[in-house]
Amino acid sequence: MPTTVLRPGRTSRAPLTALREGAVKLAELVATPLVPADYLDMVSPLRASADLCGRIVEVRRETADAATVVLEPSGAWRGHEPGQYVRIGVDVDGVRLWRAYSLTSPADARDGRIKITVKAIPDGVVSNHLVRHARPGTIVQLDQAQGDFTLRGTAPAKALFVTAGSGITPVMGMLRSHGARLEDVVLVHSAPTPRDVIFGAELRGLASTGRIRLVEQHTDSGGMLDAAGLAELVPDLAERETWACGPAGMLDAIEQHFADHGFPERLHTERFRAAVTVAGDGGTVTFSGASTTVEADGASTLLDVGEAAGVLMPSGCRMGICFGCVAPLREGTVRDLRTGELTTAAPGDDVRIQTCISAAAGACDIDL
């Protein structure tokens, strides 16, 4: 069958498109030196063409120190896979701070809203702000969902979730989305007391209907769960596809167990912060693009140092997994705070480093 080939060019453009493009061009001419979006943001910040952001709709208390923040994302939100996290930029004391939070809402929520559940940690700037001071109506910045702590489209015959504290959050997202598809689910969750269990009532409800087998480990009375204890609680551990999220110590122990017993590929972990093992030496850091020079100590990440100096630093997970913070090191030496490894650039080099897990080890020049 013959087909008509549309040639690109004026003739093939629908008049409506042309009109639209003309209107946009005109708006640009009038808005200069700003862009039309600067004016539209004043009246319609959540429109589809706006930079991704969200409006806080509700802040719901979960436990004494945790709360769920319900957000209405702007039109640019592309949805998420259960288990993924979203980066959120919140203004605390007038300063924009970015942190990652796992999505706890089902992926197919009909109202289009998304939820994160935050546990306030001692002295935590953003977590305390969100749990105690966030108010409905506030606009926050968002990034598209990311992360591969997901079921990856498969529904394993047998699943195990091992979580502790706020580590329940990505798992809650999966249970809420896939609960019906996962046939055999065991959830082992640790929290200091029954009252500290985030989503306690909902989880116990799922357990009472037989949807999941729930094991609560109350660490104040029962102590920490170790890998041997876990194997005892879950005798068919080796047959279960496992997702674990919690403090570094717990994850390290489980990883060791799965490796020792020969099925490390069955284990998927999510860490909320990088395990810092060393400190750098500190030094003078120059952010050449921003013409800013600061003294950095050996324990602070270049990301924190730059942000504190008012440099616009790209960032993501802030813990070394997403590469959202990568920047060119033009000269000098930096140390990877997780491994102690040194990276050096000679003048004129363009070595890409992750600023969120690197600290100055002598004078260095970052091209930002």
């Binding site: 009038v30 200069t32 030196p33 004391d93 300063v95 924009r96 440099v311």
Partner: protein, 397 residues
């Protein structure tokens, strides 16, 4: 005015080295107190000003669509003038100084901001933030002193060209934004070598692009959109730009030109300590007194002294720290130069007129005993340039 080092009574001669360092420490403490308390209210302030400015500009341009109707012309022109002034002064100038970078909002950041002015942000930031703020009032280093077209200090060598400087100053005031762009390009210095200077060509192209965009908006698109009101809207936009130019020029000359503001010798800033730098900023600027609205309209450059001491502190905090800064002036017996806008503008203009003539010219002419002597004094103006004498080599160099 004569550089401070050459004055018969040097106003900082009474300060000991220790005094100067103490002043530096006290000013650092004021700075730290503002930085420690910067927060939500300050962020809300700048966002409110930006929103108000944009609303005012949009509303004024909308009203001007009916500018054929005289009340609409008046209201729209007044609104647009105020909006343009706010945009340049309280918002653009201050954002580009990095006063709001601490908020880490990429939309209100010195590295991303662009303003409604002929000089592109990048170019302006270099000549203003790096050169003028570093070399404030150092004769021969700070081009803001007279913008390279005027003689504003006794120690700048007189040339017949300066006879016209009251006129140059008026023209510069009317076309101030273009004057700034030319000045940021260092047009005078770079023009003759422009063909071999790719950096200058790039910058000049940027400036022209910017001017084209600004002019297209104000002098073509907006008038055309006004339909039958096109000619009156064009006139309104020309007027608003003129008002903005005259206003910003007046505010700026009040900052460094009035009598009482000190200038410094090039050699004097070698090995300058932080304390020395602060003292130079203290004496090299003058404030304008007035109402909160006046301060807003000057972009808080009415607190020029505080701005020069702390160029990157949020402008809304200058009013609060001014009394503390003033107390330091009083404690060390230094002169805190300030005056009302009309007084400072008059003082600056007086200086422009006085220095258009050679030093002491009027005095010499007035004290001439015979008509012949008076004529001789006047003809001196047009005689070949005198040999470079004491105090003049700096400028000639």
């Amino acid at each position: 005015m004569t550089t401070i080092q050459k004055k018969p009574e040097n106003p900082i001669a009474h300060l000991s080295r220790q005094d100067i360092e103490d002043i530096g420490e006290q000013l650092d403490a004021i700075r730290a107190s503002v930085i420690d308390s910067r927060g939500e209210e300050d962020a809300a302030y700048i966002r409110k000003v930006i929103d108000a400015q944009r609303s005012l500009e949009l509303a004024s341009r909308a009203v001007l669509l009916a500018s054929l109707f005289p009340p609409a012309w008046l209201a729209g022109t007044a609104g647009l003038s105020v909006a343009k002034i706010l945009e340049n002064m309280e918002i653009g100038h201050n954002v580009m100084h990095g006063q709001w970078d601490w908020m880490r909002d990429p939309k209100i950041h010195s590295t991303s901001w662009e303003w409604d002015n002929a000089s592109p942000a990048e170019l302006w930031k270099h000549s203003h933030n790096e050169l003028h703020h570093t070399y404030t009032n150092v004769v021969g280093k700070d081009n803001d002193l007279g913008y390279g077209i005027m003689r504003v200090d006794e120690e700048q060598r007189w040339m017949p060209f300066y006879l016209g400087q009251p006129l140059w100053n008026l023209i510069n005031a009317c076309f101030f934004e273009y004057g700034i762009a030319a000045y940021d390009l260092e047009l005078g210095k770079n023009w003759s070598t422009r063909k071999e200077n790719p950096e200058f060509q790039r910058q000049a192209a940027e400036v022209l692009k910017k001017i084209r965009a600004q002019a297209t908006k104000d002098y073509l698109v907006h008038p055309v959109l006004s339909g039958i009101s096109a000619p009156t809207t064009l006139a309104a936009n020309l007027t608003a730009n003129l008002v903005r130019n005259l206003w910003t020029h007046s505010v700026i000359i009040c900052g460094h030109f009035p009598e009482g503001v000190e200038t410094f010798e090039k050699a004097s800033i070698e090995g300058e300590t932080r304390g020395d730098w602060y003292v130079r900023q203290m004496l090299g600027a003058a404030n304008i007194t007035g109402s909160p609205f006046m301060h807003l309209m000057t972009g808080n450059l009415s607190f020029q002294i505080e701005h020069h001491l702390f160029p990157d502190l949020p402008s809304n905090r200058y009013a609060e720290i001014a009394p503390q800064v003033r107390a330091i002036f009083d404690r060390y017996d230094l002169r805190y130069a300030e005056g009302s806008l009309p007084r400072q503008v008059a003082s600056a203009w007086k200086k422009v007129v006085r220095l258009s003539l050679p030093n002491n010219f009027l005095k010499r002419a007035a004290s001439a005993r015979t008509p012949a002597a008076a004529v001789a004094t006047v003809t001196e103006l047009f005689a070949p340039a005198p040999r470079v004498g004491r105090g003049e080599e700096r400028q000639a160099a």
